[in-house]
């Protein structure tokens, strides 16, 4: 008994020496991450202080790129488009995903298969998804306008209308990413205790009251996590917007990411593009931290 108790203690220095060799296991990955992730971050930060168009000489301009960016109307509009798109593309999947999670939390026949089908959009290649939706949005030959006509609604211009383009793109986003929210909330539901439900039922609580006053507060942290992930992803959305509209019509759906792409790889304004990346990153980080803060609060609800 006594030897058993002291054995780990005697082993401690021995194992501590071993710890160093564990770092050798991490080293190759650290070097790779340094090269393909951290180096680009630092390089971008550095380049954002230069006026540099690919193929010509770079001049140091300090915060010049940022000043120009904040005075740029097109960039300002891109920021607004991004926020508009993100607000819708976070709120709708959160609502629908939570509802779907409540459904998949129950036991019913074929649950596994149906859940598998439900999560397929999330894994599908974004370009393929975008192509199919582009065809469905087509004002003359698209299937969506046919479906509208079936329920007696007038045809819509969808992504060809400057006012409807962002809500239409959000529709794709909802289809694509509601499953991810569902999975995260489902994970939360699976971890719920059963006791509060039993006692609440005995007290005669209705199904809605059970959901509103027990389930919702308990899964709130998971919904918050889903909100953070969804916010980051919605802000970053590029593939579907670029393939379906390219930022159009005009610049009606030009988000920060599309603006960034054009600056970097259409105009080769590396300096400006780098400044956009830095501003973008600050926005993403700020929103993510804000949401995490909200999450800490909701934990104690």
């Amino acid at each position: 008994m006594s030897t058993n108790a002291t054995l780990p203690a005697r082993l401690a220095p021995f194992l501590a020496r071993r710890r160093r060799s564990y770092y050798l296991f991490i080293a190759p990955a650290l070097v790779t991450i340094g090269a393909v992730i951290i180096f680009p971050w630092l390089y971008t930060l550095w380049m954002s202080a230069f006026d540099w168009t690919l193929g010509s000489a770079a001049h140091y301009v300090g915060f010049g790129n940022y000043e120009k960016l904040f005075g740029n109307q097109r960039f300002g509009e891109a920021v607004l488009h991004t926020f508009y798109f993100t607000a819708l593309a976070v709120a709708a999947p959160l609502l629908l995903g939570t509802a779907a999670a409540m459904i998949f939390h129950r036991e019913f026949p074929f649950r596994g298969v149906l859940r598998g089908i439900f999560i397929m959009p999330m894994m599908a290649t974004p370009v393929a998804v975008a192509l199919v939706w582009t065809m469905m949005f087509h004002p003359q030959q698209g299937v969506l306008n046919y479906l509208l006509s079936l329920v007696g609604l007038p045809p819509s211009l969808w992504v060809y209308s400057p006012t409807l383009v962002i809500p239409s793109l959000v529709l794709v986003e909802i289809w694509h990413w509601t499953p991810l929210v569902m999975l995260i909330v489902l994970g939360g539901l699976a971890a719920l205790p059963t006791e509060p439900y039993e006692s609440a039922r005995l007290d005669g609580a209705s199904e809605w009251q059970l959901f509103r006053y027990i389930t919702l507060p308990l899964v709130a942290p998971f919904i918050a996590v889903a909100a953070v992930i969804r916010t980051i992803d919605a802000l970053k959305t590029f593939d579907t917007i670029y393939v379906i509209t390219g930022g159009g019509p005009g610049t009606a759906s030009e988000t920060i990411n599309i603006y960034l792409y054009l600056q970097a790889f259409a105009f080769y304004n590396i300096g400006t593009a780098s400044a956009v990346v830095v501003v973008f990153f600050v926005i993403v980080l700020a929103l993510a931290l804000l949401l995490l803060h909200v999450r800490e609060k909701t934990k104690w609800m």
Binding site: L11, I119, V127, P179, G187, A226, D233
Partner: protein, 289 residues
């Protein structure tokens, strides 16, 4: 529930049974409502790819191809070097996944055993960075190294996606494995390498499988890297399919066929590891950039 149920039964059994039936019907209706958008879009994609051009342009739309035709698929293969792009995608995603496994699995092991969970924060921040922002510096470096338009450059860039996924999943997986066996090996004079190679790694096989498939899927799905860095001959499949949209007359059949070719392998994989994806994603919300 039980108390009220018996009360209802004594009042009116048929009334109760009716309500129960309605509830069940309502539940199944809601299941149909949430699952049908996923099914319908994929079926529509399939329908478009199997119909001839006339049926695809018909109004009201023709839903069921009669007879189904594979002309669209043949056309995609004949007019575009889809075979080559398919190969490029396999090389790039396969290569990037292989490298990620070689360096990411040991790293996950090291992180789990040292308890350096903070390293995974780095991975979360990487996830927050838009993919395009990695491209600007890498594009410049590849330009300098004359690596632009090569598959090597694409494999290196795709490490941005695959390495974090593998490290994240493996660190989580190795943490769940018991340490006692490894400690016993160490006490008997075995090296850390042998604990990894002969104890931890064989036990971690399920984690490796999930990590491999998820890394491969997210690399396969990536569009921007291939779109920006690749030339005509080195495009990956998503980038090549997008080019069909811009440079050719838009006809629905071949486009849908191409979209299916890109995403079918992914959907097949998804069905294969559905359970693991559910488990993996509910824990960490792992998703490529």
């Amino acid at each position: 529930m039980d108390v009220r149920a018996t009360a209802a039964l004594t009042r009116s059994p048929t009334h109760y049974r009716m309500r129960r039936w309605l509830r069940k019907a309502g539940f199944w209706l809601s299941v149909m409502v949430i699952v049908s958008p996923a099914i319908l879009v994929f079926l529509w994609m399939l329908s478009l790819s199997l119909k001839n051009e006339i049926d695809n342009l018909a109004y009201p739309p023709v839903f069921i191809p009669s007879p189904p035709t594979f002309d669209n698929f043949l056309q995609v293969f004949e007019q575009n070097s889809i075979g080559r792009y398919l190969w490029n995608s396999i090389v790039v995603s396969g290569g990037a996944t292989l490298v990620a496994l070689l360096i990411g699995v040991p790293a996950g092991f090291g992180i789990a055993r040292v308890g350096a969970r903070r390293l995974t924060v780095l991975i979360l921040i990487a996830r927050m960075t838009p993919a395009l922002s990695f491209l600007i510096p890498l594009f410049a470096v590849f330009q300098f190294l004359r690596l632009n338009n090569t598959l090597t450059a694409l494999v290196i860039t795709h490490l941005v996606i695959t390495v974090p996924i593998v490290v994240y999943i493996m660190a989580g997986y190795f943490e769940t494995l018991p340490k006692e066996l490894e400690e016993a090996v160490l006490i008997d004079g075995g090296s850390v390498w042998s604990t990894f190679r002969y104890v931890a790694l064989p036990l971690a096989r399920p984690g490796v499988v999930v990590g491999t498939i998820l890394a491969f899927i997210f690399s396969w799905n990536n569009f921007v890297f291939g779109f920006v860095l690749a030339g005509r001959g080195t495009r990956t499949l998503p980038a090549a399919v997008f080019n069909m949209l811009t440079f050719e007359q838009v006809s629905f059949g071949p486009l849908a066929a191409a979209a299916i070719l890109v995403t079918l392998p992914v959907l097949v994989f998804t069905i294969f590891i559905q359970k693991e994806i559910v488990a993996g994603l509910t824990h960490g919300g792992v998703k490529g950039s």
